[in-house]
């Protein structure tokens, strides 16, 4: 009989307590990911957890599958090589907003355009946590960080909208407040062939919350919950109201052929040539 271990069988022994600050969302996202692994019966041998650099980029240290800890912003490009060469691998890429859409923005849109069959779990905490709370490409206009002490003059990227227009097959948004929905979205993303993205809007009480006086970790998590609406509810809002919220849940679900499928077609044409 198989016993469901709540994902614990994928957690490396002897690594807890993890390095993340109290109140950080990363632990909740990791536990959702590992439960999803277990529900999909992922094997350690055929799974690679790929990370870049940042707080969430330390997550590979905590899992028993194959692991790859690369350079800042390039996780998707490394992952593309792995998946392109061995399509049987489950390649799961864990990135923060820095890795995914700040330094690594180019790789993000091209991974989506190419529709490479990897899953990106992007924890967006609106700032660079690891280096002390500097501004990132997802820090909203007008917010404070350690390098925008007079508030941010730049607008932020909408990660999900970016993934959508660039061609990802699956895009969802969740928060650590919504643990079960988060896990469901991750599971769907892992199952989906083609490029899939789950953005997790997550609290960083240590830096972003502190600079913007967002209170205790629980208060900050509540503020994030108040920023989002299930996409069905969001769709009913007028254009002006929409500006105050981010939609959550499954936002994009397509079945365009993934890169490896298309490349197999190239191979058959080449072999006939």
């Amino acid at each position: 009989m198989t016993v469901f271990t709540q994902g614990l069988r994928y957690l490396k022994e002897g690594v807890t307590p993890h390095m993340w600050c109290p109140g950080c969302g990363n632990g909740i996202v990791l536990s959702a990911l590992l439960r999803a692994f277990e529900e999909l019966a992922y094997s350690n041998e055929e799974t690679v957890v790929v990370t870049g650099i940042g707080c969430w980029g330390k997550a590979d240290d905590y899992v028993v599958t194959n692991g790859f800890h690369g350079t800042h912003g390039r996780a998707l490009a490394f992952a593309t090589g792995m998946k392109a060469f061995n399509p049987r691998l489950n390649v799961v890429v864990l990135m923060g907003d820095g890795d995914a859409v700040t330094i690594g923005g180019n790789h993000f849109i091209h991974a989506a355009r190419r529709n490479i069959d990897v899953t990106a779990i992007v924890v967006n905490n609106f700032n660079f946590g690891m280096t002390g709370g500097q501004v990132s490409a997802t820090t909203p206009l007008g917010m404070a960080t350690s390098t925008t002490p007079y508030t941010n003059p730049e607008r932020d990227f909408d990660i999900c909208a970016l993934a959508d227009v660039a061609g990802a097959n699956y895009v969802a948004r969740a928060t650590p407040w919504h643990g079960f929905e988060l896990e469901a979205n991750i599971r769907e993303a892992l199952r989906k062939k083609g490029f899939s993205v789950v953005e997790v809007m997550s609290p960083c009480p240590t830096h972003y919350g502190k600079y913007n006086r967002m209170g205790t970790p629980v208060e900050m998590l509540r503020k994030i919950r108040e920023m989002v609406l299930p996409h069905e509810e969001y769709a009913r809002l007028g254009p002006a109201q929409k500006k105050s919220y981010f939609p959550t849940g499954k936002l994009v679900d397509r079945d365009e052929p993934d890169f490896n499928t298309r490349y197999d077609e190239v191979r058959s044409r080449a072999m006939k040539d």
Partner: protein, 372 residues
């Protein structure tokens, strides 16, 4: 036997060596390597993928290599600059892969279609931190083929990135090439682990300084990291461990330097005037040395097929009886001349012949300094 371009010979050499994955971004004067791979690799069941930039190209090559591929990329100066950080990753994580740098004239966009040999030091020192690398340098189309095969063999043997440092002239000229039969040249594959999966440590080296490498998707689960790591591949900040790791990535090349350092001698043994040359400049140097001999000066050429690790011993030996050593190269500073001076000492007569205007060196340029 047919006329083949240097870049095509590089691509053919890579495939002969077993390369089945190419990721790159087009750039003059290396693009023909990519074009050739895009034709041939899919026919062989391999893969050609054009990435969004050179940073992604070398990253995809590293990823594919860890999934078990012999993988490579080709670029030129501007792209090679962009590759440095992830090339450093390949050094740190000990990932076999080959990078072809077809040198063109810089700095920056420079003379984009003209040759140069000014990347010698970037090849060696372009990445931050302590690291070592192997670099090979072809002087003919045939060497484009053979040294590419050798680059893969070294890369697989020592679990390290290898740079093939070509130049625009070698890469674009056409010469006759007989492609060796299968089995004619030795092909080496990386050492695979033989211990049970539970005991496998991806950075636990054997006596030769090299650790066996599994592939993602194989029964042996493993972890690699850009961060300082222990034998298991997980972060390890212990100073003793860090020193061991840095020592080993140097030592695994140092202890095999005699196999890695390849030179060719053209009348160098009794030379009064020794020309130390590499790449396309070897050709003009040989012509100049022959002509000097006809004029009564015993000149000879030592060709550096391996640029890094540097041929200290071979140069010292060849220059033992020479009254003068000449280093012709297509760069301003004398990047190799400086190394030769380091090897032979400040009192020796070492003269550079330098071209840095995008024009190749001619035999007469070198002959003048031989006869002076």
């Amino acid at each position: 036997m047919r006329l083949v371009q240097g870049n095509e010979a590089i691509a053919r050499g890579a495939l002969y060596a077993g390369a089945r994955f190419y990721a790159g971004y087009p750039i003059t004067p290396s693009s023909e390597v990519a074009e050739e791979c895009s034709v041939v690799l899919p026919r062989m069941g391999g893969m050609y993928i054009q990435m969004e930039d050179e940073i992604a190209s070398i990253a995809a090559v590293v990823g594919a290599s860890l999934a078990g591929a012999k993988a490579f990329t080709a670029t030129s100066g501007p792209g090679f600059s962009l590759m440095q950080e992830n090339l450093g990753f390949a050094v740190m994580a000990e990932v076999p892969c080959v990078v072809v740098d077809v040198q063109r004239s810089g700095p920056s966009t420079g003379l984009a279609t003209k040759p140069s040999q000014a990347d010698v030091m970037q090849v060696r020192w372009g990445r931050h931190g302590d690291q070592a690398i192997i670099a090979l340098c072809p002087a003919s189309v045939r060497e484009c083929f053979e040294l590419t095969v050798q680059a893969f063999n070294f890369s697989e043997t020592y679990r390290t990135p290898v740079v093939l440092v070509a130049d625009e002239v070698v890469a674009h000229m056409r010469e006759s090439l007989r492609v060796p039969e299968e089995g004619e040249l030795a092909i080496i594959d990386r050492k695979k682990p033989s211990v049970p999966p539970s005991e496998y440590k991806p950075f636990e080296a054997d006596e030769d300084g090299v650790a066996p490498l599994a592939a993602y998707g194989s029964p042996r689960v493993f972890h690699v990291s850009s961060s300082m790591h222990g034998p298991e591949g997980f972060s390890n900040n212990d100073p003793a461990n860090a020193a061991r790791k840095i020592d080993r990535i140097h030592r695994k090349l140092d202890m095999h330097r005699d196999e890695i350092v390849m030179t060719r001698s053209f009348d160098a043994d009794d030379a009064d005037v020794l020309v130390v040359a590499y790449g396309i400049t070897v050709r003009a140097s040989r012509a100049a040395a022959r002509e000097a001999r006809s004029k009564g000066v015993n000149a000879g050429v030592l060709q550096l097929q391996t640029l890094w690790p540097f041929a200290d011993n071979e140069i010292r030996r060849a220059a033992a009886g020479a009254r003068r050593v000449i280093v012709p190269e297509m760069n301003y500073a004398g990047q190799v001349a400086g190394e030769v001076q380091r090897v032979l000492g400040p009192e020796r007569d070492i003269r550079g012949v330098n071209s840095y205007n995008g024009q190749i060196l001619w035999p007469r340029d070198i002959l003048e300094t031989i006869m002076a």
